[in-house]
Symmetry: C2
């Protein structure tokens, strides 16, 4: 729409019934006197504020004197008080009518106000929460509506650091990857995890750049501000670990070339050398040149009230995936009511632990393995004590060793020589053993309970460490609820054999210590065959936890580490609507989940059912889990609030659907 | 049972109502005068023949003169004619009663015959066929019984070379691997495929020894007498290819150490150097030191009659997996009525073809790929013409390109330099591209229709080659029935996009050539998700072919190349009853097959259903395929007769079950 020259008592503007950035109940907006409608939106001229209060605030930020402001940038309230009064009345009516924050477009022609459009206004995550809770308190909307008003994924914005101010708008985007873990990060470029540690020890802020990350990089990832990888999808090692840490990560930035030797990152003609500043937006996947400011997020009272409201509505519980006392504590603060997945393998990468683990793997025979396992036992026990204590009174699902052993052994000469010296064997022997462990498709190889069934002594040690930890804490008056989880079960026989080992060991420890603790034994359902034969497996398993990352990998036949080569094309061409590693594929993978739920419950009525894949924190997947009747979802600490809200929304949505059906029947 | 000293007119022996080795209807057996029962079995003393005819035959083979024989080794018939007469009458009565060849134990005490035991006798594959067919012709058993009397797997003995004579019994077993492909082989040890070719060109017989084989080894495997690998299971590359070739193969012989540099094979202390003689038994997995004689198997008239009988009973058709005119012809001779799986990738490894393929893979962009594809087009077309002609009038299912591209590129400097020169790019560029193609889990990576959907020009070229070949043959008056098969489909959208490419290309060719040929477009069902969503996929696919190798890999989460690390332990501990790559896992994988059959037929009533995994030639799996209602099974040429018999037995067994049920109801 084009306006002519409308004279001094004409103008055009946009307004919000509440603050779209903070959610405050303040009428606000901008207008241009004597302007064409598009000018305001396009930002060609500096617009003026609508309210006097807003105008004064603006002047302060823009460093404009009150004199200057009143003369050159007066508010609409000051310039056309009658029109302003009419606009203010109208906005209130509109908000009351639509019971939501409105985004208005208006024009003033020859002293007359014309409303061009009104619609529900877009808003930040923080505003979304505040407006929903305020409107509920004001009695405009009921509790259910308040719960439904907040987009769960938007909560993420509240939980992570964000870029501070407008500097980021000016920064140059030099690459784009996957938004693997939300938040903002700025730091100096380093290419090696151990150097990241050194630099941070020297007081520097770093962004760790890797072609891909591996468990050996954990410590470096932990101290970095953010992580950027050239390869790997949304569920690559870097992405999963970063989300677990609540750390900003951009993964699979295919356009960047990383040269470890030259220590350079080249992207789109720009070359970053070690030490150069770079910024990452893990929420959008954008990579920026240079340094920018970031600020920590704060959780408002509204947020916590919303969460309480959600918990009252939700049927499903929300647990967390955590492997350290620190993560457990963070997750508990975010409202997790237990650990749904504690990956024991992450524990082996700590200082002094990896050597014993490597000794175990490189051992010549059972006896050698047992000796090394004896060294690992106290380490594991201590780790479990820490986590169990942080999660006192709440259930903790501990998964026995899962990844292929090849992931633990040293792949470079230095580390191999170290192991040779330590074990008194030749470097060649170490090399040979490392080579023997290599697999064509490690994802489908010698891992999970296949390890525990070929090397039962490993499961034995882990079961012992768990039960001893629980007993030690019980003696200190701390309550624990360990749930021992067998990974990668595909047949009931595998499960039974592991259950036997765990129960026999546990009972032995209980007898030794003359102290009983309760524990459960269950399994991951992450192999399609496990879902297909869940009725059999439930004879042995007291609980199922759906490992939907692996289940998605096997059901689709996609390796999450390699899918970067075709998934983007598939999404672009519309072969896939969404990345199945992000949102659970309800049509395919979901069929297996539902089948396993039904078969599991048929065999064991009160079997405990949960999900511990990445999907446990994704709203549409959480809703699916509610629908098929899971008892809980488990996700990384920083997604716990999202899952709590999604679990509540699932209940509300189902109720609404039920009502609609009823009404349709009556009608 | 222990006998005392029984005097001159006492003795003990075993006898067969027919010849257990050849199946001839000749009463035969051995006895010892004045002996304890166990002596005969244990072979402590040289036993004498029961019949005079047998005795004379024996003497000839043992080079004993008639005088010596008659004096020192007379037959029972000669020594105790009355007893012999009684025994002969009894054996006939027993065989008539049990209507099967009997294995008798008897003793003679003080001139009186005592029968200790009678049971159905064990026999060779050849004897099994002959006895069944003879008894049917004699009217002792009916056709159904004749069909059921032959163990399908035993037919394999008739189809492959066997060790000649007793030399093998004396040979030392030095290692044991998996019985990957049946038959006997003896040859000189070589460690590289190209050397195998050279040695054979020099008139030598070789056994190819590899840690594992890859498609690059095909030509060498083809000329070797047999193949021995240290790694890989029953469905490793070596095993699958060898079975396809009908070539003896022992795979996954974990105990052997192969040193390519030193050109040695070390096993259990024995070191084989290049050129040393070695022998393999692919039926048992045994590896022998030294050279032994082998002889080709001959197919008797009984065999062919049995096959005709089987085909009359069977409902399912039997096709073959074949990639060359030669294999197609062999399979046709074995009774295959079509090709169920023609793997186009095998064709790319021929001379002069691999370069064009590599050019295509290493090309910079679509244009470069198209140029290389233009070179591949006539090569593919010619290959298809050869196969279609060999299979004239019968359907040929051609699978579009399936394996990850990394399998085709050169991994050594020499080959990489060759490609760099050919394409006018730097060696570093070639190396970089090869590295970029590497995947963590190639099985779950960029392969199958993921290639055809990211590089549609590949599918286009292949579709064109197929249709052009069919039209060229039609112009020569040769009838073809191409069925174009999309590999690794997981979603209906993938299938639709490929179907579009194929149909559009086909119609274009038909218009260009002004000649119409009929063709079908269908898909493999080898991804669990494809089975789960088969109703959707059937909207686009005219046929399903169950790729149960990959389906087993994904459903169990087992990589067939890596499973050697835990499968043997699983079988030993009883976690698995059988290797799921050998016999279809009916409980798990079978559920998916059955589900896909039902869903597929629901959408498309007359959808054509087959299986082309290795299981298509395994009797229990063939029976399962019959039960769930597949139209055909497809297997390697040398297993076609086995599948034909198994398909007939499935029908007979179902009829028997039905009858039994009916009887039970009446009773």
């Amino acid at each position: 729409m084009v306006f002519g020259n409308m004279g001094q008592n004409s103008g055009t503007g946009v307004a919000f019934t509440r603050d779209a950035a903070t959610g405050e109940d303040i009428f606000n907006g901008e207008y241009l006197i004597d302007a064409q409608g598009e000018d305001v939106v396009a930002g060609i001229r500096t617009p003026q504020q609508i309210t006097k209060e807003g105008s004064i605030r603006w002047a302060e930020l823009a460093k404009v004197t009150e004199e200057d402001r009143a003369k050159n940038f007066p508010s609409l309230e000051e310039v056309m008080p009658a029109i302003y009064k009419e606009l203010d009345d109208t906005q209130q009516k509109l908000e009351d009518h639509y019971t939501d924050m409105q985004d208005l477009e208006f024009t003033i022609q020859d002293g007359k106000l014309w409303l061009l459009q009104t619609r529900n206004g877009k808003r930040t995550g923080a505003a979304m929460v505040k407006i929903a809770m305020d409107m509920m308190k004001e009695g405009m909307i009921n509790k259910k509506t308040a719960i439904m008003r907040v987009e769960p994924n938007k909560l993420d914005e509240l939980l992570h650091p964000v870029f501070d101010g407008d500097a980021i708008n000016a920064a140059k985007v030099v690459a784009k990857g996957l938004p693997a873990s939300p938040g903002a990060a700025t730091g100096q470029v380093v290419f090696h995890a151990d150097e990241a540690e050194d630099w941070v020890a020297d007081g520097k802020k770093v962004v760790l750049i890797r072609i891909e990350t591996s468990p050996e990089d954990l410590a470096g990832m932990n101290v970095a501000e953010g992580i950027l990888t050239a390869r790997g999808g949304m569920t690559s090692h870097a992405a999963v670990v970063a989300r677990g840490m609540g750390k900003c990560c951009v993964s699979g930035a295919g356009g960047v070339k990383i040269d470890y030797k030259a220590r350079t990152l080249t992207t789109d003609g720009v070359v970053f050398k070690e030490g150069d500043w770079i910024s990452l937006n893990g929420t959008t996947g954008e990579v920026y040149e240079g340094k920018t400011g970031t600020k920590e997020a704060e959780l408002s009272g509204d947020f916590s009230e919303l969460m309480k409201l959600a918990d009252k509505s939700a049927r499903m519980k929300v647990r967390t995936n955590a492997d350290t006392p620190h993560d457990s504590t963070v997750a508990r603060e975010f409202g997790a009511v237990g650990i749904g997945l504690c990956r024991t393998e992450h524990m082996f990468f700590g200082e002094g632990k990896i050597q014993a683990m490597r000794e175990m793997i490189l051992a010549e025979d059972v006896e050698g393995r047992k000796l090394a396992l004896e060294k690992l036992l106290p380490i594991q026990r201590e780790d479990f004590e820490g986590i169990f204590e942080a999660m006192h009174d709440l259930p903790v699902t501990v998964r026995l060793l899962d990844p292929p052993l090849h992931e633990f052994v040293p792949h470079e000469d230095k580390g191999q020589q170290e192991m040779a010296d330590l074990m008194g064997i030749s470097l060649a022997d170490v090399k040979q053993k490392v080579e023997d462990l290599a697999e064509f498709n490690p994802m489908l190889g010698h891992r999970g309970c296949r390890l525990g069934n070929t090397y039962p002594e490993i499961s034995e040690m882990q079961a012992r460490a768990i039960i001893e930890a629980a007993i030690n804490l019980k003696k200190k008056g701390i309550n624990t609820h360990p749930e021992i989880m067998i990974p990668l079960t595909g047949t009931v026989e595998e499960m039974k054999m592991q259950e036997d080992i765990v129960r026999t060991t546990a009972e032995k420890v209980i007898e030794e210590q003359k102290e009983r603790v309760e524990y459960m034994v269950g399994t991951m359902i992450e192999i399609p065959r496990a879902a297909l034969t869940a009725d059999e497996i439930a004879k042995s398993a007291e609980f199922f936890s759906f490992g939907t990352n692996d289940l998605t990998q096997m059901t689709f036949g996609y390796s999450r580490d390699d899918a970067g080569k075709f998934l983007p094309v598939y999404l672009e061409k519309g072969i896939l609507k969404v990345d199945p590693f992000q949102a659970l594929d309800q049509t395919g993978v979901g069929q297996l989940v539902e089948m396993a739920v039904k078969k599991g419950r048929k065999t064991r009525k009160n079997i405990k059912l949960g999900i511990c894949g990445e999907h446990g924190g994704e709203p549409s997947s959480v809703e699916f889990c509610h629908k098929v009747g899971l008892d809980y979802v488990s996700c990384s600490p920083y997604r716990v609030p999202i899952a709590r809200l999604a679990a509540a929304q699932a209940v509300v949505r189902k109720k609404v659907e039920k009502k609609a059906k009823k009404a349709a029947k009556k009608g």
